[in-house]
Symmetry: C2
Subunit: 393 residues, 2 copies
């Protein structure tokens, strides 16, 4: 990665550090290393406020450079700083919402004279405003993601289960370059590549704070497809994570097996209308809770409120920031006073589940610009009938 | 899951708690909830030493039962315990090696009068000895895993890259029932489903403590296939995670594109010989470091020591416990004084990388029994020539 891009990112973090009097950051979690060093390593990026960043690396042992130093264990850090002419910081931040308790306390103990604070919220604040290069990665991801989705009708075979169709879509995603892993903030929200929800399975509540759940195939990963046989009159929602370059582009599309009841198309249109209205208002300065309330107002007026964002268990948001992880800030949810800013990238996902039919609605990823929001996932938004083949795209 | 199985598992944890004077455990990480409650939920399992376990659940909101109680936030725990006639514990354990610093300190703060200790090592010790039911899950996984690998020659097409072959194998694994997600202990060791390493890419060191690395396809996940064109004279190692029922069965097999140099077959045989000797000694009471040293002795005598377990950067183990996560105890490594016990399940993976050829060797999962070790991954161990089709199985 270009050094200028890394400097830009580090300086975004540094400017927030300066506001809080933090003299240095010690970064060791994968996504934050990826953000600040451009690749994942086993080791530590030490980021002082007023000096170049240094990498202290365990693995791989092949990395070299003026600011790269081998290390075996974190207890060497104070000595290595001294050897390189760097003072012990008076105030240091660690990744408190990401490191385990044991790792955090071990690192903090290496700096007994230092005030140690949780730096995760600050780093997430920096990561929330994407750079031009990051936005370009999202654009490219959206194109590859679209290419994969456009081939979905070609892999559908009558008599398939949701699981079988999901496997073929996973393969399409991988062939278009999807890296597969699905990164979330918070260790408990596990999912494989994404989800495919058919028919009433979309009503099954999950242990996670996803928009929709699904029973899953095993109690060890209770989310997504559950072996439902795909049958005429059902809708199918495909929501695969679009991680093609490290960035979790988010896009859902709805397919049908044959024709759906008219109510389903009406519900789908309500979601498209909500998307249009919310995006129309998604300008710098827009307040997240206002966007959420606008969606609730529209879906209530349309008579679908009971089926919006789940049935028995509802997700309490209509959108969320995306980036190196699927659940970044901002969050379009009640009581969220945060304002949109240029460079924020978020997924907007108004979704309705109709009992006896399945999931309807839409999800796209968007970047906030000075003048509005730009769509990053340019795929057909109508409900595509899997029985009619690929010609509808 | 059967209540008797859950009771058995909980009592294994309780007997270790009793030894350390711990009055209760509060369990909230996915694999530990899966182990002690039989499925993943959003919530907390409270496990007292001398009373039935209780589940305090946030999501899904559909779980009911005598010992199941809804909860919104952990700060309600002391009150909920009181309501259910349970005393505040004098000594409580939390998952200190798994919870984030923020989560751990938040939970600990709910019990201001309590001594809070890190319970992760204790739970891992309990999980290390598998129950009969868990061993049966491994046996079934090994059979499904083998079925997928046996179809590998049928998806090979001349002119493929390692990435393309990997995608077809991932699909075979999924069609045989693999759940896909690859669970590791420690948040930094990320991988998608497993790895496929062809030719010299197997020499590339990774940021993780895996037996072999690989460059990967993107700096955001630098491990595994890197786009190498599969060519005559190369070896290909397939090492996909065998997670069919939540248990991470581990199995590697080597394939070739046409015939390999004689030295490659010799190296492969050395690994098979090491496997045979180590397994012959893998009886209850065997010391892990002795098994490691035996392997090093054999590979040194055979003249392949420089290429064993990596080239420039070497893994310092030949085997590791497997279970709900890929890296459990015991670890077959230097200075590991732990003795094997009946019910332990481990992967043994003597591997050699030959420059100009690629990875050779073997990996199987084994369960320690009273009389020795039983193989859980019953797949052909010879090098299979991908150009000759599936008949070699």
């Amino acid at each position: 990665m270009l050094q200028s891009e890394l400097t830009l990112r580090r300086d975004k973090i540094r400017s927030l550090m300066a506001q809080e009097g933090i003299e240095a950051a010690l970064i060791t979690c994968n996504v934050n290393l990826l953000y600040t060093y451009g690749r994942i390593v086993g080791g530590y990026l030490y980021l002082p406020l007023n000096a170049p960043a240094r990498l202290f690396v365990k693995r791989p042992n092949t990395l070299k450079g003026e600011y790269v130093h081998p290390i075996r264990k974190p207890e060497q850090l104070p000595e290595l700083l001294k050897e390189n002419g760097l003072p012990i910081p008076a105030k240091l931040m660690l990744e408190g919402d990401e490191l385990t308790y044991t790792e955090y306390t071990r690192l903090a103990a290496c700096f007994p004279e230092t005030t140690v604070v949780n730096g995760t919220p600050l780093i997430r604040r920096a990561r929330c405003i994407k750079t031009e290069m990051e936005i370009e990665m999202f654009r490219r991801s959206g194109i590859a993601h679209t290419k994969a989705y456009e081939q979905i009708p070609s892999v559908y075979v009558s008599g398939m289960t949701d699981r079988q169709l999901s496997i073929e879509i996973e393969r399409l995603m991988r062939l278009e370059g999807c890296l597969g892993i699905f990164r979330t903030f918070g260790q408990n929200m596990e999912i494989f590549m994404g989800s495919l929800l058919a028919g009433d399975n979309a009503m099954t509540p999950s242990p996670y704070d996803f928009a929709l759940g699904g029973e899953g195939l095993d109690s060890s990963i209770p989310v997504g497809a559950n072996g439902t046989l795909l049958q005429p009159g059902q809708s199918v929602m495909v929501d695969m994570g679009g991680n093609f370059y490290g960035y979790m582009g988010d896009m859902s599309r709805v397919f049908s097996i044959g024709k759906l009841p008219e109510k389903a198309y009406a519900a789908h249109q309500v979601c498209l209308d909500i998307q249009e209205a919310v995006i129309e208002s998604s300008k710098p300065g827009a307040v997240c809770e206002d966007l959420y309330n606008m969606a609730i107002g529209m879906v209530t007026k349309a008579g679908f409120a009971d089926y919006f964002m789940g049935v028995g268990q509802k997700a309490k948001f209509i959108g969320h920031g995306v980036g190196l992880e699927i659940n970044e800030t901002p969050i379009l949810a009640p009581r969220m006073k945060q304002e949109l800013e240029p460079g924020m990238v978020f997924a907007l996902e108004p979704k309705i589940v109709l009992p006896g039919v399945g999931p309807l609605g839409i999800e796209n990823s968007w970047v906030v610009t000075e003048s509005g929001a730009e769509k990053l996932t340019p795929c057909e938004e109508r409900i595509i009938d899997l029985r009619s083949g690929a010609s509808q795209f």
